[in-house]
Symmetry: D2
Subunit: 391 residues, 4 copies
């Protein structure tokens, strides 16, 4: 039976590793129409790519991503590289008739994202599908929140409150990496983690952001150059060479949604003690939900229709057989981890490729996020003035 789905993964760092693990595991837990297998791994350095392929049990590796695009025995190209290379690879892969899964943010600019979305639309007409890896949508708790909104449990939505708080840059002597370089990363906390909040907020609420008023800030404007600092004996060395930080350390903005909701967003890597607090709270006229990824197996839910004396936020342990994704795993109460989200993502992608319902977000959805990121940057440069999201 020719039901396998052959995947080439571009990149094998944090994201690449998570993706490969997912491709090779999803069919062990989910009943999928086709069985994925990673047949090619692409990395920049030949030796490191080969070593990674061996550890991750991938048969072949190469340093040329074009191989993945041109070979006939590849069905899906999975792009796990920094944002500045997304456009070129994705457009080529789609043109070559490969399905594409691209990590978020989709691109480093609206222009690139638009070009990619156009390519995806053209490919779609030929049965070729695009996906963007906003993996938090695969969290059972957030998916349950989305389901609650769809079921009308929240009523009319008034408030969206999103925070994405990390702290790994709190130390002013933490070294300069490519993530702090605007040319490579596009932006800082805004695109790296704020993009997740924007996608989740729009998806769960079912409303699009109409406009924003934003502030971007860089607390530590120069940092020790990583390589040099190491060579000299430590990041804190007085003689360390320093280089400029060219992205934002923190982003904050208020927003108006097209369904009447008001939003408050904050993303930062300087919230000391908050390790990965990806939080979303939505208040409606009938109910509320609140989520924090640091407790990813839980969703707080308030039902305003409960009798008055018994009202309170319910701590739902989102591990029941009736919850999204969790019926394929362990008995109730046993909990999933971050890595499992990627398995869910693969299951959804394979379902779609096997004829199941469309899996979102696609490139067009991801472009929506990119447009908001752009409006945020525009507002921040214009004295925080309210800036409509251009569509």
């Amino acid at each position: 039976m020719s039901t396998s789905v052959r995947v080439a993964v571009i990149g094998h760092a944090f994201m690449g590793k998570a993706h490969i693990h997912a491709w090779r595991t999803a069919s062990r837990f989910f009943d999928l129409p086709r069985t994925p297998e990673v047949t090619l791994l692409v990395g920049r350095d030949s030796g490191r790519a080969a070593a990674a392929a061996q550890q991750l049990n991938v048969a072949e590796s190469t340093t040329d991503w074009r191989t993945a695009v041109t070979r006939d025995d590849i069905d899906v190209v999975d792009i796990c590289t920094p944002g500045d290379s997304h456009r070129e690879i994705a457009v080529a892969a789609l043109a070559a008739g490969k399905h594409v899964l691209c990590e978020k943010p989709l691109a480093n600019s609206v222009e690139e994202a638009e070009e990619m979305t156009a390519a995806a639309a053209a490919a779609d007409a030929k049965g070729i599908t695009s996906f963007c890896g906003f993996s938090y949508r695969r969290t059972p708790g957030l998916a349950l929140a989305r389901r609650f909104v769809e079921e009308g449990r929240l009523g009319e939505i008034r408030h969206v409150r999103a925070q994405y708080l990390q702290d790994w840059l709190s130390d002013a002597n933490a070294p300069l990496t490519w993530r702090l370089d605007k040319d490579k990363a596009g932006s800082g906390s805004l695109g790296d983690i704020g993009a997740h909040s924007i996608d989740a907020a729009q998806w769960v609420s079912g409303q699009r952001i109409e406009g924003v008023s934003a502030l971007l800030h860089t607390f530590v404007t120069s940092r020790p150059v990583a390589g040099v600092a190491e060579g000299l004996g430590g990041a804190g060395d007085a003689t360390s060479e320093k280089g400029p930080v060219t992205v934002d350390d923190a982003a904050a903005f208020t927003a108006r949604f097209d369904g009447g909701a008001v939003g408050v967003f904050e993303a930062t890597r300087f919230a000391l003690g908050r390790r990965n607090a990806n939080r979303l709270e939505i208040n409606g006229s009938l109910g509320s939900v609140a989520f924090d990824f640091e407790r990813m197996n839980e969703l707080e839910y308030f039902d305003g229709r409960d009798d008055q004396q018994a009202q309170g936020f319910r701590r739902i342990h989102v591990t029941d057989s009736v919850h999204p994704y969790t019926g394929n795993w362990w008995p109730v109460g046993h909990g999933l981890g971050y890595g499992d989200l990627f398995i869910h993502q693969v299951a959804d992608v394979i379902d779609a490729l096997g004829g199941g319902p469309q899996t979102r977000p696609n490139f067009a959805d991801a472009l929506e996020v990119q447009r908001v990121l752009h409006a945020v940057e525009t507002s921040a440069e214009d004295s925080s003035r309210y800036t409509p999201v251009a569509r």
Copy 2:
């Protein structure tokens, strides 16, 4: 011994009742230099004022606040009325040589607040003192947060994150009251609860807000007129007469502080399920604190200097003998309530009147809050454009 402090309280609703309870209780738990006693209660309605005086054990009542100002046997005038009357009473009382404790917000406009502050400064030269009732400063948990900042435990402050979430207006058929009338209340959630956040944020952080970018929003623009609706048989009646809501239901703004911190503020009465979530989180380079009034006996504290494997937010039960205020109460772990804050406030005021250290906030401090409220309103009317706080 002539050590009593004779107090006239103007108003006997929610706040007035809390104040009178505090004046008559503080010396039972705190060792005070002078003993307060409420000698006069002022209310608008003669019968209701007399009834309140009887229940609250106050010897005399009147409907004319000028009595409180002119009588010789009054040392302190305590103003617990809506904001539109603060200026007139406070200025008259100060001029008459009465110490004044005035509820927050200090006034309904910067102009009024400036006039009051000028009057307070003039009175101060004669040994007359002004206080403003930002009572949350008397919460042991927030006072401990302030102490931690003063002790340098947080290092350089980067983030201030303040939310004041209530939900009592979530129901679109809740009746129109004076709190929804701009002429009476000055503003809505902004002045009523956002003002608490602003005061707490500036006080705990030790930094002043330099400028803001703000959004104000009214979700429900008209509501049943209370009296009429009742007469017609229910707030939801289709034939109910409705009146306009002229204040904000929700306020949100980003802020920059003069010490380099970035702030995000939100105040609303539409966060369904959040009863009185007055929250403040501050992240510094060395530590963080987080507070939520719904758990008023706790303070979360993160110390970034703990050894790496043992770092985590500490849930401090702020009821120990070494914590602010709590040594005068119960054994550790037994907890205080909202009403006790006013007892702390009285204790601080009496300490100051008895020769102890100055008690803050005074009118000048409260004017600082008023200026921020004004900047918020100005920015909201000007497309959220960044607006410096005028000083």
Copy 3:
């Protein structure tokens, strides 16, 4: 109108102070049929009693408790002394026609408690009422739990899980006090705090404990004698004189209830970090409740009849107008403190004296607790063998 209720309070330490505050405050917040006033304070030391009377605003003080019993102008005798004096005072007061409120535990032995209960029964026939001060029954959260059981929300009760965890004896050099002396205190953690758990468990569940299997343990068997240690310059001094601890530091027992529930109880003063964790959880066939006094304004409630995907423990902020006691206080979300429980207790007592419904627990209820304490001690001395509660 002769509607005042005149109270004599015996004892003015921790409990006495809390009671006096409550007697003088209750009618300010609750609409009571009669108005209580403390007319006499009794203490062992003349000077200290007089000073306490002055601070607490009580007109008279004396060192002879018999004065309280014999004077005509006393309606209620409120006993706030250590357990070894309860019997004598209570029996005399009841015989003299005084209503009696007695602190818990009711006595230091079942025999004493039985004598007191007999006296209360005899007095009851003459319209004289007895009360025992298990004040935690006045916590809104626990009272709500009781209401939920009464409403059938829990169904058939299976599990009762009670912990009372404190830590003030964790330091092995903490001094020897009368609370560690069996002759004075009766027992250690068992009677002091375990008694609260037993009363709350039986009251909330509506079931009586039938038998227990128990363990008592003393971790630190001798401690510095307080006075001596201080004289020698510190509790840790090597030459400090030490005295024996004659009570339990910790108590643990399993229990069977007459309604079929199974119980697990633990009381200790050595649970480092737990300040006053008076916890009660009950699991039934339809629902569950969980309470922790360290978060006294909250009750966790699980409703097994919620639809499956939305089930979870609800964090109820027990401060709503429809909750027990709280309608007389502040707006929802503002929270009460430990001291307020005594105000509720006074309100309930005065309601009963004014012709309202009987207020529990009375002496007979408290005797039930005493019987369980006795069974626990008997089992612990008999190799933890299951020991029926003798009735």
Copy 4:
């Protein structure tokens, strides 16, 4: 390089599936001395075993476990069957020179466990190793708790408090399964989940249980027979045939440890709303730890040496690079799931087989748990009398 470790897995239900996933994944995330691969799957039903083998990507399947023992190309026999078959398989495998990983509880009786431990000791002399699958030891949070005890952070341990609360039998009409049959399962909640608590408590505290006083209870003594009930159209059908429940629904016991600690244990499947609350709290003279598997990525830690005003339980997010196991996974704050524990177990087993430090628990450790289970049952049958653990 012949460094692979060839594994036969007996059983492919809940546990078998988790184990196979772990064997095939561990070397992708951990740097292991040898690479495991599952070469044979054993199941009772030929067709279902083959289907499972295909889904889980195992090359071969069989219905005869003896194949796994006798074949030369098997290095490890991994026993994931119910407890009544452990002894026979394990003893045969060890005798045949296979390393054995056996699920918990080790056996259904002390006698069986002793025989298995003797076989393991004999095998050990030939370089053959035994392991028992108390997988919760692989939870980073519990492993960190163990580390803290080893580092002396808790001081002298006084209290061990273990609860394992589930609720999947709360419904009295849930069907009868083999887990409710004493012949198959050995015991009910006691052996199934209480065994985990016993192992964790002894391991983390570093103390052994010396004796217990116990209570076992069955709330629902008969239940619908599964097959019949299904055939008749529903578990609640009035005409359903019912069969007897022959195991405990709940177990509770107090314990004394050989290092002076006092323990309280409870295990139940009737704690409605508690999904998988495997909790352990330990209080020492210097510090405390508290863990709940429903929040498996957290450990609460209290350090009594913190300065007094800043003491509180720290919520440690146990996902840092310095925490046990977590450095091989994701960035801090991203969290692991239940399935990952088995990957840690494989990593530890392979490390040991590759010459690294011994991995615990071995059969001798698991026998310790079995002895405690036996003492619990003996005490429960003897009126809860204190029963020493026979060794």
